[in-house]
Amino acid sequence: MINIKEYRCDFCTACVTVCPPDCIEVREASIKIDNDTCIDCNLCTYVCPIEVLSPDEE
């Protein structure tokens, strides 16, 4: 699981670019992660320039 601070997001798609299973969808002003296909690799959290994404620690 990845936590998303949606209102912080700039929808730049850096996360989409590095996501191995292609489970992130970014549109004009929305970001969604499909938790069924997410593999918890956390690559998206490493690349996000403004700390929108973080691993869910639970």
Partner: protein, 392 residues
């Protein structure tokens, strides 16, 4: 919107508009699909471009240009500036909002249909040797039949991924970037500044590109392995606080830049990728406007020829690859090698270089000289570096 187009171009940046323009020019029935409501906005770019690079395509309009750049300054990690005047070459900081918009107007003038708020959801091979493009246009589902898709959909490059082209980027080559458009600062409006070193921007650089009237684009890119520990935003906020505490922030934009080698095979049957989607980016400067426009132009030309020949096979489309190679991909591959050398320089080495360079008489300081000092151990790279910077 028709149900059938010879060519569908996905993405309305400079690469997409050039692809649509040249597809239409070649006689193809083409549409350009942009997912946001505005072509040219949001801007995700430092907006600098070499004069010669733009003049390959068009005589620049005054409204495209925010600032004329006549010199550059590289600031070493310890704060020592190296000032480098441009000799013959000149550069611009563009207004991408106006520039991108105008390019799309040119495409439509040539006959391309342009649609905004048009989000491509998936693509499917159909039984007519082409693709069905499924999209959401203003909240309604639509499908378009097409023979050729030109993916100009930027770094995310989902078109390429769906078509089976390997588009994923090695994290090692990924730069995390953020930029503020600021006002209320004092800068030389004819000079671009670049800060290097681990303090400012580890594994990348920080830029101050003036936009006239006390405004500038201030941004940075850092290697993703550094971003993981401390975000690009934190680095930029610290810089602004230290150097330009009075600055007001008018736009925040961010993005990822793949500073990788260009994609070796950005095509497959019925699909071509252009610009960022094909990783056509100068791996050192991160600049991609010129390569996007060039590849868009080539893709449009080859695409319209494919329509006339009624052949959309990879074998026909490979002409696109050789056109790109001759023009810029080979150069980008060399630059990538240079990048690998430069990123190994430590802050101390860069500081020493700055001292040495500043001992030279001012008229002898050129960008080439800076990099000759940088890569003295590998003299064969000098020529590549000079060529690269001549091309911005």
């Amino acid at each position: 919107m028709k149900n059938n187009y010879d060519i569908v171009v996905v993405g309305g940046g400079p690469g997409g508009s050039m692809a649509a323009l040249h597809s239409a020019k070649g006689g193809a029935n083409v549409c350009l699909l942009e997912k946001t409501r505005d072509i040219g906005y949001p801007v995700r770019c430092g907006e600098a471009m070499g004069e010669w690079a733009i003049k390959q395509f068009f005589e620049p309009k005054q409204s495209w240009i925010a600032a004329d750049i006549k010199r550059s300054r590289i600031v070493a990690p310890n704060g020592i500036p190296i000032d480098i005047p441009f000799n013959k070459e000149q550069a611009y900081v563009l207004n991408r909002r106006v520039f991108d918009y105008d390019l799309s107007l040119m495409a439509s003038k040539e006959g391309a249909d342009v649609f905004t708020k048009c989000y491509v959801k998936s693509i499917d091979r159909n039984d007519e040797n082409g693709y069905d493009v499924h999209l959401d246009y203003l909240g309604e589902h639509k499908s378009i039949k097409t023979k050729l898709i030109i993916g100009a959909d930027g770094i995310e490059s989902r078109i390429g991924r769906w078509a089976g082209i390997k588009t994923q980027i090695n994290m090692r080559d990924m730069e995390s970037c953020i930029q503020y458009s600021v006002g209320n600062i004092e800068v030389d409006s004819n000079r671009i500044d670049m800060y290097v070193g681990d303090n400012w921007a580890p594994g990348g650089y920080l830029w101050v590109f003036p936009k006239g009237d006390g405004a500038a684009n201030i941004g940075l890119g850092i290697g993703s392995k550094y971003n993981r520990k401390k975000s690009a935003k934190k680095y930029l906020d610290e810089f602004i606080e230290n150097k330009y505490p009075e600055a007001t922030i008018h736009t925040t934009m961010c993005g990822g830049v793949p500073c990788s080698k260009p994609m070796a095979h950005p095509i497959c049957d019925n699909v071509m990728l252009v610009g960022d989607a094909a990783h056509f980016i100068n791996p050192i400067t991160g600049g991609g406007i010129a390569a996007a426009m060039k590849s868009g132009m080539f893709a449009g030309q080859v695409g319209s020829e494919a329509i006339i020949a009624n052949d959309y096979s990879q074998n026909f489309l490979k002409k696109y690859i050789s056109l790109c190679q001759k023009d810029f991909t080979k150069r980008h591959e060399k630059i990538y090698k240079v990048k690998e050398t430069i990123t190994k320089l430590t802050d101390d080495e860069m500081n020493q270089m700055a001292l040495k360079i500043n001992e030279l008489p001012p008229h002898k300081i050129t960008l080439g000289k800076v990099f000759t000092t940088a890569i003295m151990k590998k003299p064969s790279l000098i020529i590549d570096v000079m060529k690269m910077f001549a091309g911005f």
